[in-house]
């Protein structure tokens, strides 16, 4: 924690806030609105709320909470597929904790577990593989979920299973990739964004080069940011500095962890195991081309999608949900029609209310009611 405490120093924060304020006051702001800065990553959203960063920033800066929580962008049909696999009595279905509560059209994995399905929470895909070793008569399925952050560990687990000849293990692959997603956001009509806080963990794997198009084609600045509160403040300061100086670049605030060229070993494993899907459906954002990955044919025996009959039905999001608008930053969570009324963390309509990294849940938990009161 010693290492971490450095990045939570309130004194340093005040100095940084002061510098941010003076930068903003000397800047020409867009007409009639604050500066919109989007944090792409759910981990950032979480830190921003946990440390109360929003309230510390000058009013001229507004943070927009992007689509970076993999649990939040999971379409309902995919949750139904998970439940269908989990309900197969031969199967032990393993998942990260925060995917348990995401609502499907019939039920969540948590409800499926209560109804008798063997659903278990694991902390890494290697834990799931260990379960497979210990239960040779059962089929252990791991729910592969997440951006490039978690993609390599799933890939390495599959390679490990392959080398041990384990055949009762498979992955229901819902890994997604960040670049097409950011592109889809940038292409959405009427978008007002002045800069991006780039995801730290994802960049640890892919490096910073894949983001260059954001600066070069879309003319938006980006700063790859760490997750500690000082990291985030410093990244905001770096973004403002670029804007103030009229520069548009991809900068790396998180260089202590993120090498600009990425992590080669991880990238090799990813390239070996996965290939891009033509299309992948996102909750609220619709289908984004080449944004998801599946297992290559060489690993077909580890592919739960091909091993089990899954319904694979597209389920439209509930009509009242405005998750898509919130994910794109067009609406603040508390502006959604059902926020805090029919959609709460206890009875989430949309996935943004489920994961602790979801913007709606974060608003609800860390100050939502107040915001709501200010609006009505």
């Amino acid at each position: 924690m010693k290492y971490v405490d450095e990045f939570r120093d309130g004194e340093k924060a005040r100095v940084l806030i002061g510098e941010i304020e003076s930068l903003v006051s000397g800047m020409k702001l867009p007409e009639g609105r604050p500066l919109y800065l989007m944090e792409v990553c759910g981990g950032h959203t979480h830190s921003i709320f946990r440390y109360g960063l929003e309230g510390m920033l000058p009013k001229a800066i507004e943070l927009v909470h992007g689509p970076g929580c993999p649990v939040c962008v999971l379409p309902m049909g995919r949750v139904d597929d998970c439940v269908a696999i989990a309900e197969n009595p031969k199967v032990i279905f393993t998942t990260f904790g925060d995917a348990m509560r995401v609502p499907g059209s019939r039920k969540s994995l948590l409800q499926a577990k209560a109804d008798g399905a063997d659903v278990r929470m694991v902390y890494s895909p290697m834990d799931a593989l260990q379960l497979a070793r210990r239960n040779p008569a059962r089929e252990v399925v791991f729910f592969g979920l997440g951006f490039e952050t978690t993609m390599p560990s799933t890939a390495l687990t599959i390679l490990q299973a392959e080398s041990e000849g384990i055949r009762n293990f498979s992955v229901f692959c819902n890994h997604i990739t960040i670049v097409p997603t950011i592109k889809a956001i940038l292409d959405s009509p009427g978008l007002q964004l002045d800069g991006f806080l780039g995801p730290g963990h994802v960049s640890m794997v892919i490096g910073t080069a894949p983001y260059e198009f954001i600066a070069n084609f879309y003319r938006k600045p980006m700063v790859v940011a760490g997750f500690e509160p000082l990291d985030i403040l410093q990244s905001i300061w770096m973004l403002l500095k670029q804007i103030a100086e009229g520069r548009v670049e991809v900068e790396n605030q998180y260089a202590r962890v993120v090498p600009s060229e990425g992590n080669n070993a991880a990238l090799r494993a990813v390239a070996q195991v996965y290939e891009l899907r033509e299309f992948f459906e996102w909750r609220g954002l619709g289908s984004i081309d080449h944004s998801g990955v599946r297992l290559r044919d060489a690993y077909v025996h580890f592919d739960a999608e091909r091993k089990f009959a899954i319904p694979n039905v597209r389920i439209a999001d509930p009509k009242s949900c405005q998750c898509g608008e919130v994910l794109k930053g067009a609406l603040k969570p508390w502006q959604c029609k059902v926020f805090g009324t029919s959609c709460t963390p206890e009875t989430p309509l949309g996935a943004l209310m489920v994961s602790s990294e979801g913007a709606c849940a974060a608003y609800y938990q860390y100050g939502g009611q107040k915001r709501q009161a200010e609006v009505v």
């Binding site: 109360g52 510390m56 993999p70 509560r101 929470m121 834990d127 963390p345």
Partner: protein, 355 residues
Amino acid sequence: MNFVPFVKTRTRGKVNVSSVTLAHGGGGKAMKDLIDDVFLTAFGEHACEPLEDQARFDLAVFAAHGDRLAFTTDSFVVDPLFFPGGDIGKLAVCGTVNDLAVGGAVPMYLSCAVIIEEGVQIDLLRQVALSMARTASQAGGQIVTGDTKVVPRGACDKIFITTTGVGAIPASLALGVDKARAGDAVLVNGLLGDHGAAILCARGDMALETPIASDCACLHELIGAILAAAPGTRFIRDATRGGVATVLNEIADGSGVSIEIEEGMTPIREEVKAFCEVLGLDPLYLANEGKIVVIVPPDQAEAALAAMRRDPLGLDAARIGRITSDQDSRVMMRTSFGGHRMVDMLVGEQLPRIC
């Protein structure tokens, strides 16, 4: 069937198998033997009416301690049964003793009902019973009546225990969740979240080796000391399931006040912080079994803190915040970083984040 009262003169039955079978729940000799051998041997002999179906007390004994009877019950279903810092038996006694003590009551008598899964080792049951007896005698209370049931394999998870306790509340005391007033100080008696973290680690599915022990302890003496030092104490509650965050929200709701706590003043062990960091949990919501939240008028806060710090169970006591005049019944935390955030009721269980 109740196993109290027992007959002092009857020869003790002896269980001569190594694990519990359904026969031990059948009401016959096997059951009598189990109760005699395991429970009565552990709990010792108490001055109860022989061969009655209930424990009997002289009301004068209660009246000598106070003017109101306190009565509480709780069930314990922890997995694993033994963990660093405690076991289900100690937990079952401490939990009920604390539930009495936080209301200001002097804990006097406990009952215990044990539901046992077929196949549980008799030795294990013995250890649990001994632990209950040891903890109860340390707390100055007695286990005076009880019950055992045996259920088929799979119908429960090894051992479930329900304890019920009675005590007497001294006439001078009137603690209540509705009594917090603006300006009052919010105190805790030590490091938060140890029990929750210890149990999660002990389950062993975390692949984390963290040397965290549960804080499981009986707090009646500590609470007695607080009440003596700060007679104006408004409210005390033990921060068990749901952690300190939940208790604070209950107070905010119950008293129609808001609470502001300071992250920087909130005592949490470095190991627990690191553990929460890794798993994406919030230590404020982790369970405690030896921690209380105390609301006292501001002018008695120092006296209450000093009293706590004189007790081994209150060495790390701290003033973590205050009651504010804002009437929205909100709990806010001033982060050590300088920002503010809400500390709301937890929805469901804390589930670890993925990245």
